[in-house]
Amino acid sequence: MRAVMRLNPEDRSKMGGRIVAGGQDVTRMSRRRLNRFRGAEAAMIFQEPLLALDPVYTIGMQIVETIRVHERISRADAWARALDLFERVQIPSPERRLNAYPHELSGGMRQRAMIALALACWPQLLLADEPTTALDASVQIQVLLLLRQLQRDLGLSIIFVTHDIGAAVEVADRIAVMYAGRIVEEASARDLINTPRHPYTIGLLKSRTHDAMVKEHKLDTIPGAPPDLANLPEGCAFAPRCYLAQDACRRGVPDLQQLEGGRTVRCRRIDRTAPELRSAAAQ
Protein backbone atom coordinates (compact mmCIF):
# COMPACT_ATOMS: atom_id res chain seq x y z
CA MET A 1 0.00 0.00 0.00
CA ARG A 2 2.74 2.39 0.97
CA ALA A 3 4.70 1.33 -2.10
CA VAL A 4 1.95 2.82 -4.28
CA MET A 5 2.80 6.24 -2.87
CA ARG A 6 6.51 5.41 -2.65
CA LEU A 7 6.44 6.09 1.07
CA ASN A 8 8.90 3.41 2.03
CA PRO A 9 12.36 4.75 2.87
CA GLU A 10 14.21 4.91 -0.43
CA ASP A 11 17.55 3.89 0.92
CA ARG A 12 16.22 0.79 2.61
CA SER A 13 13.82 -0.64 0.06
CA LYS A 14 14.18 -2.22 -3.33
CA MET A 15 11.59 -1.44 -5.93
CA GLY A 16 10.99 -3.33 -9.15
CA GLY A 17 8.27 -3.51 -11.76
CA ARG A 18 5.80 -0.75 -12.43
CA ILE A 19 3.10 1.00 -10.44
CA VAL A 20 0.68 2.68 -12.78
CA ALA A 21 -1.88 5.15 -11.44
CA GLY A 22 -3.96 7.27 -13.78
CA GLY A 23 -1.72 6.30 -16.69
CA GLN A 24 1.45 7.41 -14.87
CA ASP A 25 4.21 5.19 -13.60
CA VAL A 26 4.75 6.12 -9.98
CA THR A 27 8.13 4.41 -9.82
CA ARG A 28 9.52 6.80 -12.40
CA MET A 29 8.15 10.07 -11.03
CA SER A 30 10.55 12.82 -10.04
CA ARG A 31 10.48 13.93 -6.41
CA ARG A 32 8.55 17.03 -7.35
CA ARG A 33 6.06 15.15 -9.48
CA LEU A 34 5.68 12.63 -6.66
CA ASN A 35 4.74 15.36 -4.19
CA ARG A 36 2.06 16.54 -6.61
CA PHE A 37 0.82 12.98 -6.99
CA ARG A 38 0.66 12.37 -3.26
CA GLY A 39 -2.40 13.99 -1.76
CA ALA A 40 -3.72 15.55 -4.96
CA GLU A 41 -4.13 12.50 -7.21
CA ALA A 42 -3.85 9.68 -4.72
CA ALA A 43 -4.54 10.04 -1.00
CA MET A 44 -4.24 7.66 1.87
CA ILE A 45 -6.28 6.76 4.94
CA PHE A 46 -4.26 5.14 7.68
CA GLN A 47 -5.15 2.38 10.07
CA GLU A 48 -4.66 4.43 13.22
CA PRO A 49 -5.54 8.09 12.66
CA LEU A 50 -4.23 9.08 16.08
CA LEU A 51 -0.74 8.09 14.95
CA ALA A 52 -1.08 9.32 11.38
CA LEU A 53 -2.14 12.88 12.24
CA ASP A 54 0.29 15.45 13.57
CA PRO A 55 -0.58 15.70 17.28
CA VAL A 56 0.28 19.39 17.69
CA TYR A 57 -1.74 20.81 14.80
CA THR A 58 -5.52 21.07 14.77
CA ILE A 59 -7.32 18.98 12.18
CA GLY A 60 -8.42 22.16 10.43
CA MET A 61 -4.85 23.45 10.20
CA GLN A 62 -3.73 20.15 8.69
CA ILE A 63 -6.47 20.14 6.07
CA VAL A 64 -5.83 23.79 5.14
CA GLU A 65 -2.11 23.11 4.90
CA THR A 66 -2.65 20.14 2.61
CA ILE A 67 -4.94 22.11 0.32
CA ARG A 68 -2.56 25.04 0.15
CA VAL A 69 0.42 22.86 -0.65
CA HIS A 70 -1.36 21.67 -3.77
CA GLU A 71 -3.45 24.62 -4.84
CA ARG A 72 -3.15 28.39 -5.04
CA ILE A 73 -6.03 29.26 -2.78
CA SER A 74 -6.55 31.65 0.10
CA ARG A 75 -6.52 30.47 3.68
CA ALA A 76 -10.18 31.43 4.10
CA ASP A 77 -11.25 29.48 1.00
CA ALA A 78 -9.27 26.46 2.13
CA TRP A 79 -10.93 26.68 5.52
CA ALA A 80 -14.36 26.87 3.87
CA ARG A 81 -13.53 23.72 1.92
CA ALA A 82 -12.37 21.98 5.08
CA LEU A 83 -15.73 22.82 6.62
CA ASP A 84 -17.51 21.43 3.58
CA LEU A 85 -15.44 18.26 3.78
CA PHE A 86 -16.29 17.82 7.45
CA GLU A 87 -19.97 18.07 6.59
CA ARG A 88 -19.48 15.54 3.83
CA VAL A 89 -17.95 12.99 6.19
CA GLN A 90 -20.84 13.64 8.58
CA ILE A 91 -19.00 15.11 11.51
CA PRO A 92 -21.45 16.88 13.82
CA SER A 93 -20.67 20.53 14.72
CA PRO A 94 -17.86 20.66 12.15
CA GLU A 95 -16.77 24.18 13.04
CA ARG A 96 -15.78 23.14 16.54
CA ARG A 97 -14.21 19.86 15.43
CA LEU A 98 -11.98 21.60 12.89
CA ASN A 99 -10.42 23.48 15.77
CA ALA A 100 -9.84 20.31 17.76
CA TYR A 101 -6.54 18.47 18.07
CA PRO A 102 -6.49 14.80 17.03
CA HIS A 103 -6.40 13.53 20.62
CA GLU A 104 -9.54 15.46 21.44
CA LEU A 105 -11.74 13.44 19.06
CA SER A 106 -13.19 9.97 19.48
CA GLY A 107 -11.88 7.09 17.38
CA GLY A 108 -14.68 7.13 14.83
CA MET A 109 -14.56 10.92 14.58
CA ARG A 110 -10.82 10.82 14.04
CA GLN A 111 -11.16 8.35 11.19
CA ARG A 112 -13.81 10.57 9.59
CA ALA A 113 -11.48 13.54 9.96
CA MET A 114 -8.72 11.46 8.39
CA ILE A 115 -11.01 10.71 5.46
CA ALA A 116 -11.86 14.40 5.11
CA LEU A 117 -8.15 15.18 5.08
CA ALA A 118 -7.51 12.55 2.43
CA LEU A 119 -10.25 14.03 0.27
CA ALA A 120 -8.98 17.60 0.70
CA CYS A 121 -7.70 17.92 -2.88
CA TRP A 122 -10.33 15.71 -4.50
CA PRO A 123 -8.02 12.80 -5.38
CA GLN A 124 -9.12 10.17 -7.89
CA LEU A 125 -7.56 7.34 -5.96
CA LEU A 126 -8.04 6.66 -2.27
CA LEU A 127 -5.79 4.13 -0.55
CA ALA A 128 -7.40 2.82 2.62
CA ASP A 129 -4.98 0.88 4.78
CA GLU A 130 -7.14 -1.14 7.17
CA PRO A 131 -9.11 2.00 8.04
CA THR A 132 -11.62 0.23 10.26
CA THR A 133 -9.35 -2.12 12.19
CA ALA A 134 -8.86 0.29 15.08
CA LEU A 135 -12.57 1.06 15.40
CA ASP A 136 -15.23 -0.79 17.32
CA ALA A 137 -17.81 -2.78 15.40
CA SER A 138 -20.67 -0.26 15.40
CA VAL A 139 -18.43 2.56 14.21
CA GLN A 140 -16.79 0.29 11.66
CA ILE A 141 -19.97 -0.17 9.69
CA GLN A 142 -20.66 3.59 9.70
CA VAL A 143 -17.23 4.31 8.26
CA LEU A 144 -17.62 1.57 5.65
CA LEU A 145 -20.97 2.98 4.55
CA LEU A 146 -19.49 6.47 4.45
CA LEU A 147 -16.62 5.31 2.23
CA ARG A 148 -19.05 3.55 -0.06
CA GLN A 149 -21.18 6.67 -0.34
CA LEU A 150 -18.22 8.98 -0.95
CA GLN A 151 -16.96 6.61 -3.60
CA ARG A 152 -20.27 6.90 -5.44
CA ASP A 153 -20.69 10.66 -4.93
CA LEU A 154 -17.18 11.65 -5.93
CA GLY A 155 -16.43 8.95 -8.47
CA LEU A 156 -13.45 7.77 -6.44
CA SER A 157 -11.44 4.63 -6.91
CA ILE A 158 -10.73 3.07 -3.54
CA ILE A 159 -8.16 0.41 -2.78
CA PHE A 160 -9.24 -0.99 0.53
CA VAL A 161 -6.91 -3.28 2.45
CA THR A 162 -8.43 -5.33 5.24
CA HIS A 163 -8.09 -8.53 7.22
CA ASP A 164 -11.84 -8.63 7.65
CA ILE A 165 -13.45 -10.29 4.65
CA GLY A 166 -16.84 -9.08 5.91
CA ALA A 167 -15.65 -5.48 5.58
CA ALA A 168 -14.33 -6.24 2.09
CA VAL A 169 -17.69 -7.60 1.01
CA GLU A 170 -19.37 -4.51 2.40
CA VAL A 171 -17.35 -1.97 0.40
CA ALA A 172 -15.81 -3.74 -2.56
CA ASP A 173 -16.82 -4.21 -6.18
CA ARG A 174 -13.83 -6.43 -6.78
CA ILE A 175 -11.87 -8.38 -4.21
CA ALA A 176 -8.30 -9.61 -4.50
CA VAL A 177 -7.23 -12.14 -1.89
CA MET A 178 -3.57 -11.97 -0.94
CA TYR A 179 -1.46 -14.62 0.72
CA ALA A 180 2.13 -14.04 1.78
CA GLY A 181 2.45 -10.92 -0.34
CA ARG A 182 0.98 -12.33 -3.54
CA ILE A 183 -2.49 -12.03 -5.01
CA VAL A 184 -3.87 -15.57 -5.09
CA GLU A 185 -7.35 -14.85 -6.35
CA GLU A 186 -9.19 -11.93 -7.81
CA ALA A 187 -12.84 -11.71 -8.74
CA SER A 188 -15.93 -9.59 -8.36
CA ALA A 189 -17.10 -9.54 -4.76
CA ARG A 190 -20.18 -11.66 -5.60
CA ASP A 191 -18.24 -14.34 -7.48
CA LEU A 192 -15.53 -14.52 -4.87
CA ILE A 193 -17.96 -15.07 -2.03
CA ASN A 194 -20.25 -17.47 -3.86
CA THR A 195 -17.70 -19.52 -5.78
CA PRO A 196 -14.22 -19.18 -4.32
CA ARG A 197 -11.66 -21.13 -6.31
CA HIS A 198 -8.40 -20.81 -4.47
CA PRO A 199 -8.00 -23.17 -1.50
CA TYR A 200 -6.90 -20.26 0.68
CA THR A 201 -10.02 -18.23 -0.16
CA ILE A 202 -12.14 -21.28 0.53
CA GLY A 203 -10.46 -21.78 3.90
CA LEU A 204 -10.83 -18.12 4.70
CA LEU A 205 -14.56 -18.10 3.98
CA LYS A 206 -15.13 -21.29 5.94
CA SER A 207 -13.39 -19.89 8.97
CA ARG A 208 -15.96 -17.13 9.40
CA THR A 209 -17.82 -17.49 12.66
CA HIS A 210 -21.39 -17.77 11.31
CA ASP A 211 -21.59 -21.55 11.29
CA ALA A 212 -19.68 -21.95 14.51
CA MET A 213 -22.52 -20.35 16.40
CA VAL A 214 -24.52 -23.54 15.93
CA LYS A 215 -24.13 -25.91 18.84
CA GLU A 216 -21.79 -28.87 18.41
CA HIS A 217 -20.28 -27.20 15.38
CA LYS A 218 -16.56 -26.56 15.45
CA LEU A 219 -15.06 -23.45 13.85
CA ASP A 220 -13.23 -24.35 10.65
CA THR A 221 -9.64 -23.22 10.62
CA ILE A 222 -6.70 -23.34 8.26
CA PRO A 223 -4.01 -25.56 9.79
CA GLY A 224 -0.51 -24.24 10.33
CA ALA A 225 0.74 -20.64 10.42
CA PRO A 226 1.62 -18.06 7.75
CA PRO A 227 5.14 -18.46 6.38
CA ASP A 228 8.10 -16.26 7.23
CA LEU A 229 7.91 -13.51 4.59
CA ALA A 230 11.69 -13.15 4.41
CA ASN A 231 12.02 -16.86 3.75
CA LEU A 232 9.08 -17.95 1.60
CA PRO A 233 8.78 -21.63 0.74
CA GLU A 234 9.70 -22.56 -2.79
CA GLY A 235 6.67 -22.97 -5.00
CA CYS A 236 3.16 -22.02 -3.93
CA ALA A 237 3.43 -20.19 -0.60
CA PHE A 238 0.19 -21.77 0.59
CA ALA A 239 1.19 -25.34 -0.28
CA PRO A 240 2.42 -26.32 3.24
CA ARG A 241 -1.06 -25.57 4.63
CA CYS A 242 -3.13 -26.67 1.63
CA TYR A 243 -5.23 -29.83 1.72
CA LEU A 244 -4.92 -30.14 -2.06
CA ALA A 245 -1.16 -29.70 -2.28
CA GLN A 246 0.79 -32.06 -4.53
CA ASP A 247 4.49 -32.34 -5.23
CA ALA A 248 4.06 -30.08 -8.24
CA CYS A 249 2.77 -27.29 -5.96
CA ARG A 250 6.10 -27.19 -4.12
CA ARG A 251 8.04 -26.50 -7.30
CA GLY A 252 7.77 -23.01 -8.74
CA VAL A 253 5.23 -20.30 -8.01
CA PRO A 254 2.03 -20.98 -9.96
CA ASP A 255 0.99 -18.38 -12.52
CA LEU A 256 -2.19 -16.38 -12.36
CA GLN A 257 -4.74 -18.17 -14.52
CA GLN A 258 -7.54 -16.37 -16.29
CA LEU A 259 -10.96 -17.87 -15.73
CA GLU A 260 -14.25 -16.94 -17.33
CA GLY A 261 -16.06 -13.90 -15.91
CA GLY A 262 -12.85 -11.83 -15.67
CA ARG A 263 -11.49 -13.62 -12.63
CA THR A 264 -8.00 -14.88 -11.95
CA VAL A 265 -6.64 -17.58 -9.65
CA ARG A 266 -3.09 -18.53 -8.75
CA CYS A 267 -3.49 -22.27 -8.19
CA ARG A 268 -2.62 -25.54 -9.98
CA ARG A 269 -5.50 -27.51 -8.52
CA ILE A 270 -8.53 -25.48 -9.55
CA ASP A 271 -9.93 -28.57 -11.21
CA ARG A 272 -10.47 -29.86 -7.70
CA THR A 273 -11.77 -26.66 -6.11
CA ALA A 274 -14.94 -26.35 -8.13
CA PRO A 275 -16.67 -29.50 -6.75
CA GLU A 276 -15.23 -28.81 -3.34
CA LEU A 277 -17.29 -25.66 -3.05
CA ARG A 278 -20.52 -27.46 -3.87
CA SER A 279 -20.12 -29.65 -0.84
CA ALA A 280 -19.18 -26.61 1.20
CA ALA A 281 -22.37 -24.88 0.14
CA ALA A 282 -24.41 -27.92 1.08
CA GLN A 283 -23.27 -27.77 4.68
Partner: protein, 316 residues
Amino acid sequence: MFAYAIQRILYTLPVMLGVSVVCFALVHIAPGDPLISILPPDASSELQERLRILYGFDRSYVEQFFMWLARVLQGDLGTSIASGRSVTLEVSRAVGNTLMLAAVATVLGFTLGCLFGFVAGYFSNSPLDKLASAAAVFGVSVPHYWLGIVLVIVFSVGLGWFPSSGAGPGGSANWRFDYEHALYLVLPAITMAVIPMGIVARTVRALVADILAQEFVIGLRARGLGQFHVFLHVVKNAAPTALAVMGVQMGYLLGGSILIEVVFSWPGTGMLLNTAIFQRDLPLLQGTILVLATFFVVLNLLVDLLQTALDPRIKR
Protein backbone atom coordinates in the same frame (compact mmCIF):
# COMPACT_ATOMS: atom_id res chain seq x y z
CA MET B 1 -5.19 28.20 30.07
CA PHE B 2 -5.84 31.09 32.45
CA ALA B 3 -7.02 28.84 35.24
CA TYR B 4 -4.00 26.62 34.70
CA ALA B 5 -1.68 29.61 34.90
CA ILE B 6 -3.21 30.72 38.18
CA GLN B 7 -2.96 27.20 39.56
CA ARG B 8 0.64 26.89 38.46
CA ILE B 9 1.51 30.25 40.03
CA LEU B 10 -0.10 29.20 43.30
CA TYR B 11 2.03 26.04 43.27
CA THR B 12 5.17 28.15 43.43
CA LEU B 13 4.17 29.60 46.82
CA PRO B 14 4.95 26.48 48.90
CA VAL B 15 8.14 25.99 46.89
CA MET B 16 9.24 29.53 47.66
CA LEU B 17 8.42 29.05 51.33
CA GLY B 18 10.62 25.95 51.40
CA VAL B 19 13.41 27.83 49.68
CA SER B 20 13.29 30.62 52.21
CA VAL B 21 13.34 28.15 55.10
CA VAL B 22 16.48 26.55 53.70
CA CYS B 23 18.10 29.93 53.14
CA PHE B 24 17.29 30.99 56.67
CA ALA B 25 18.52 27.71 58.08
CA LEU B 26 21.87 28.21 56.32
CA VAL B 27 22.88 30.81 58.86
CA HIS B 28 22.06 28.51 61.73
CA ILE B 29 23.39 25.29 60.25
CA ALA B 30 26.72 26.93 59.52
CA PRO B 31 29.06 26.07 62.39
CA GLY B 32 29.84 28.77 64.95
CA ASP B 33 28.01 31.72 66.37
CA PRO B 34 26.97 34.16 63.63
CA LEU B 35 27.94 37.00 65.95
CA ILE B 36 31.57 35.93 66.16
CA SER B 37 32.26 37.19 62.65
CA ILE B 38 30.93 40.64 63.54
CA LEU B 39 32.32 41.09 67.02
CA PRO B 40 35.91 41.83 67.75
CA PRO B 41 37.58 38.93 69.59
CA ASP B 42 37.81 40.89 72.84
CA ALA B 43 34.19 42.03 73.01
CA SER B 44 32.61 41.99 76.43
CA SER B 45 29.84 39.54 77.19
CA GLU B 46 27.59 42.50 77.89
CA LEU B 47 28.09 43.80 74.36
CA GLN B 48 27.53 40.29 73.00
CA GLU B 49 24.24 40.11 74.86
CA ARG B 50 23.13 43.53 73.53
CA LEU B 51 23.89 42.57 69.95
CA ARG B 52 22.19 39.22 70.44
CA ILE B 53 19.00 41.04 71.41
CA LEU B 54 19.49 43.61 68.63
CA TYR B 55 19.76 40.91 65.97
CA GLY B 56 16.91 38.97 67.57
CA PHE B 57 19.08 35.90 68.27
CA ASP B 58 17.57 35.59 71.75
CA ARG B 59 14.19 34.65 70.29
CA SER B 60 13.06 31.25 69.04
CA TYR B 61 14.02 30.13 65.54
CA VAL B 62 10.42 30.32 64.40
CA GLU B 63 10.10 33.92 65.56
CA GLN B 64 13.44 34.79 63.97
CA PHE B 65 12.40 33.17 60.73
CA PHE B 66 9.22 35.18 60.44
CA MET B 67 10.99 38.41 61.34
CA TRP B 68 13.54 37.68 58.64
CA LEU B 69 10.84 36.69 56.15
CA ALA B 70 8.92 39.90 56.84
CA ARG B 71 11.98 41.97 56.06
CA VAL B 72 12.77 39.94 52.93
CA LEU B 73 9.26 40.45 51.64
CA GLN B 74 9.81 44.19 52.00
CA GLY B 75 12.93 43.86 49.86
CA ASP B 76 15.42 44.08 52.73
CA LEU B 77 17.95 41.25 52.61
CA GLY B 78 20.08 42.65 55.43
CA THR B 79 23.53 44.15 55.46
CA SER B 80 26.71 42.61 54.13
CA ILE B 81 29.14 41.92 56.94
CA ALA B 82 32.21 42.44 54.78
CA SER B 83 31.28 45.61 52.91
CA GLY B 84 28.64 47.04 55.21
CA ARG B 85 26.46 47.75 52.20
CA SER B 86 22.89 46.65 51.66
CA VAL B 87 22.73 43.06 50.40
CA THR B 88 19.74 43.95 48.23
CA LEU B 89 21.83 46.52 46.41
CA GLU B 90 24.85 44.27 45.96
CA VAL B 91 22.75 41.35 44.77
CA SER B 92 20.65 43.37 42.36
CA ARG B 93 23.73 44.80 40.67
CA ALA B 94 25.32 41.36 40.38
CA VAL B 95 22.03 39.91 39.12
CA GLY B 96 21.96 42.48 36.34
CA ASN B 97 25.41 41.45 35.16
CA THR B 98 24.71 37.75 35.45
CA LEU B 99 21.38 38.10 33.64
CA MET B 100 23.11 39.85 30.78
CA LEU B 101 25.70 37.10 30.51
CA ALA B 102 23.18 34.31 30.96
CA ALA B 103 20.81 35.77 28.39
CA VAL B 104 23.50 36.04 25.73
CA ALA B 105 24.84 32.58 26.55
CA THR B 106 21.32 31.12 26.48
CA VAL B 107 20.51 32.59 23.10
CA LEU B 108 23.85 31.43 21.76
CA GLY B 109 23.66 27.95 23.27
CA PHE B 110 20.03 27.42 22.33
CA THR B 111 20.49 28.59 18.74
CA LEU B 112 23.61 26.55 18.12
CA GLY B 113 22.25 23.57 20.04
CA CYS B 114 19.02 23.55 18.03
CA LEU B 115 20.92 23.99 14.80
CA PHE B 116 23.28 21.10 15.51
CA GLY B 117 20.51 18.98 16.95
CA PHE B 118 18.13 19.45 14.02
CA VAL B 119 20.85 18.87 11.45
CA ALA B 120 22.11 15.78 13.26
CA GLY B 121 18.62 14.37 13.79
CA TYR B 122 17.36 15.15 10.32
CA PHE B 123 20.36 13.69 8.53
CA SER B 124 21.04 11.06 11.13
CA ASN B 125 24.02 8.78 10.51
CA SER B 126 25.37 11.03 7.77
CA PRO B 127 28.81 12.67 8.06
CA LEU B 128 26.99 15.90 9.00
CA ASP B 129 25.36 14.09 11.90
CA LYS B 130 28.71 12.71 13.05
CA LEU B 131 30.20 16.19 12.98
CA ALA B 132 27.31 17.84 14.84
CA SER B 133 27.15 15.02 17.39
CA ALA B 134 30.88 15.30 18.01
CA ALA B 135 30.44 19.03 18.65
CA ALA B 136 27.65 18.23 21.10
CA VAL B 137 29.70 15.65 23.00
CA PHE B 138 32.58 18.11 23.14
CA GLY B 139 30.22 20.73 24.56
CA VAL B 140 28.88 18.44 27.26
CA SER B 141 32.19 16.99 28.33
CA VAL B 142 34.71 19.83 28.14
CA PRO B 143 35.35 21.47 31.54
CA HIS B 144 34.19 25.00 30.89
CA TYR B 145 36.61 26.77 33.22
CA TRP B 146 39.41 25.07 31.28
CA LEU B 147 37.82 26.17 28.00
CA GLY B 148 37.57 29.70 29.44
CA ILE B 149 41.25 29.76 30.25
CA VAL B 150 42.16 28.38 26.81
CA LEU B 151 39.99 31.01 25.12
CA VAL B 152 41.67 33.73 27.16
CA ILE B 153 45.11 32.41 26.17
CA VAL B 154 44.21 32.25 22.49
CA PHE B 155 41.99 35.28 21.94
CA SER B 156 43.13 37.73 24.62
CA VAL B 157 46.77 36.96 25.22
CA GLY B 158 47.62 35.55 21.79
CA LEU B 159 45.48 37.44 19.32
CA GLY B 160 44.43 40.34 21.51
CA TRP B 161 40.95 40.43 20.03
CA PHE B 162 38.98 40.44 23.26
CA PRO B 163 39.67 41.60 26.82
CA SER B 164 40.41 38.77 29.23
CA SER B 165 38.47 39.80 32.31
CA GLY B 166 36.00 42.22 33.84
CA ALA B 167 32.70 43.53 32.59
CA GLY B 168 33.82 46.80 31.07
CA PRO B 169 36.77 49.08 30.48
CA GLY B 170 38.65 50.21 33.57
CA GLY B 171 37.20 47.49 35.77
CA SER B 172 33.71 48.96 35.50
CA ALA B 173 31.17 46.72 37.12
CA ASN B 174 28.11 48.29 35.54
CA TRP B 175 26.85 47.02 32.24
CA ARG B 176 26.20 49.47 29.43
CA PHE B 177 25.01 48.78 25.92
CA ASP B 178 27.94 49.83 23.79
CA TYR B 179 30.62 48.24 21.68
CA GLU B 180 33.29 48.58 24.38
CA HIS B 181 31.24 46.63 26.89
CA ALA B 182 30.08 44.09 24.34
CA LEU B 183 33.68 43.07 23.71
CA TYR B 184 33.99 42.04 27.35
CA LEU B 185 30.95 39.83 26.99
CA VAL B 186 32.19 37.70 24.09
CA LEU B 187 34.54 35.20 25.73
CA PRO B 188 32.56 34.50 28.91
CA ALA B 189 29.36 34.15 26.89
CA ILE B 190 30.92 31.65 24.50
CA THR B 191 32.41 29.67 27.34
CA MET B 192 29.11 29.63 29.14
CA ALA B 193 27.11 28.66 26.06
CA VAL B 194 29.10 25.50 25.40
CA ILE B 195 27.40 23.23 27.93
CA PRO B 196 23.79 24.16 27.14
CA MET B 197 24.70 23.97 23.47
CA GLY B 198 25.83 20.38 23.89
CA ILE B 199 22.88 19.37 26.03
CA VAL B 200 20.31 21.02 23.78
CA ALA B 201 21.93 19.55 20.67
CA ARG B 202 21.81 16.03 22.07
CA THR B 203 18.25 16.39 23.30
CA VAL B 204 17.05 17.86 20.02
CA ARG B 205 18.86 15.21 17.98
CA ALA B 206 17.17 12.43 19.93
CA LEU B 207 13.84 14.27 19.72
CA VAL B 208 14.02 14.77 15.97
CA ALA B 209 15.04 11.17 15.35
CA ASP B 210 12.15 10.10 17.56
CA ILE B 211 9.64 12.34 15.79
CA LEU B 212 10.81 11.30 12.33
CA ALA B 213 10.22 7.66 13.26
CA GLN B 214 6.58 8.39 14.10
CA GLU B 215 3.87 7.39 11.72
CA PHE B 216 2.46 10.87 11.26
CA VAL B 217 5.58 11.85 9.32
CA ILE B 218 4.63 9.24 6.74
CA GLY B 219 1.15 10.70 6.92
CA LEU B 220 2.53 14.14 6.12
CA ARG B 221 4.52 12.83 3.18
CA ALA B 222 1.47 10.95 1.94
CA ARG B 223 -0.30 14.31 1.69
CA GLY B 224 2.35 15.57 -0.69
CA LEU B 225 4.18 17.81 1.77
CA GLY B 226 7.76 18.51 0.73
CA GLN B 227 10.88 18.36 2.89
CA PHE B 228 10.46 21.93 4.07
CA HIS B 229 6.88 21.54 5.27
CA VAL B 230 7.66 18.25 6.98
CA PHE B 231 10.57 19.98 8.69
CA LEU B 232 8.23 22.68 10.03
CA HIS B 233 6.04 19.98 11.56
CA VAL B 234 9.07 18.36 13.15
CA VAL B 235 10.15 21.68 14.62
CA LYS B 236 6.75 22.34 16.10
CA ASN B 237 6.67 18.88 17.63
CA ALA B 238 10.14 19.25 19.08
CA ALA B 239 9.74 22.80 20.37
CA PRO B 240 8.05 22.17 23.75
CA THR B 241 10.63 19.65 24.93
CA ALA B 242 13.56 21.66 23.60
CA LEU B 243 12.25 24.73 25.41
CA ALA B 244 11.85 22.82 28.65
CA VAL B 245 15.44 21.62 28.46
CA MET B 246 16.61 25.14 27.70
CA GLY B 247 14.63 26.52 30.64
CA VAL B 248 16.41 24.20 33.03
CA GLN B 249 19.75 25.04 31.43
CA MET B 250 19.09 28.74 31.79
CA GLY B 251 18.40 28.17 35.46
CA TYR B 252 21.83 26.58 35.78
CA LEU B 253 23.41 29.44 33.88
CA LEU B 254 21.87 31.96 36.25
CA GLY B 255 23.22 30.34 39.36
CA GLY B 256 25.88 27.88 38.39
CA SER B 257 28.27 30.17 36.65
CA ILE B 258 30.60 30.62 39.63
CA LEU B 259 33.57 29.06 37.87
CA ILE B 260 33.20 31.08 34.69
CA GLU B 261 32.56 34.34 36.50
CA VAL B 262 35.64 33.78 38.61
CA VAL B 263 37.79 32.88 35.59
CA PHE B 264 36.70 36.03 33.78
CA SER B 265 36.27 38.19 36.93
CA TRP B 266 32.73 38.86 35.79
CA PRO B 267 30.98 40.83 38.55
CA GLY B 268 27.86 38.66 38.66
CA THR B 269 26.10 36.50 41.22
CA GLY B 270 28.59 33.66 40.89
CA MET B 271 31.43 36.00 41.72
CA LEU B 272 29.38 37.41 44.58
CA LEU B 273 28.70 33.92 45.95
CA ASN B 274 32.37 33.13 45.69
CA THR B 275 33.29 36.27 47.63
CA ALA B 276 30.57 35.70 50.20
CA ILE B 277 31.72 32.13 50.83
CA PHE B 278 35.39 33.03 51.25
CA GLN B 279 34.64 36.03 53.46
CA ARG B 280 32.05 34.08 55.49
CA ASP B 281 29.60 36.85 54.68
CA LEU B 282 26.45 34.98 55.72
CA PRO B 283 23.80 37.65 55.02
CA LEU B 284 25.24 38.17 51.56
CA LEU B 285 25.36 34.42 50.92
CA GLN B 286 21.82 34.01 52.21
CA GLY B 287 20.49 36.86 50.09
CA THR B 288 22.24 35.73 46.91
CA ILE B 289 21.07 32.15 47.23
CA LEU B 290 17.52 33.28 47.93
CA VAL B 291 17.48 35.49 44.85
CA LEU B 292 18.98 32.77 42.64
CA ALA B 293 16.53 30.18 43.92
CA THR B 294 13.68 32.58 43.19
CA PHE B 295 14.98 32.95 39.65
CA PHE B 296 14.95 29.20 39.24
CA VAL B 297 11.38 28.91 40.40
CA VAL B 298 10.14 31.81 38.27
CA LEU B 299 11.99 30.50 35.23
CA ASN B 300 10.49 27.06 35.60
CA LEU B 301 7.09 28.66 35.93
CA LEU B 302 7.61 30.62 32.71
CA VAL B 303 8.86 27.56 30.84
CA ASP B 304 5.88 25.55 32.03
CA LEU B 305 3.45 28.22 30.89
CA LEU B 306 5.19 28.59 27.55
CA GLN B 307 5.15 24.86 27.06
CA THR B 308 1.45 24.71 27.77
CA ALA B 309 0.87 27.42 25.23
CA LEU B 310 2.91 25.54 22.63
CA ASP B 311 1.86 21.95 23.22
CA PRO B 312 -1.89 21.41 23.03
CA ARG B 313 -1.61 17.94 24.55
CA ILE B 314 -0.73 19.31 27.97
CA LYS B 315 -4.03 19.76 29.73
CA ARG B 316 -5.22 23.30 29.71
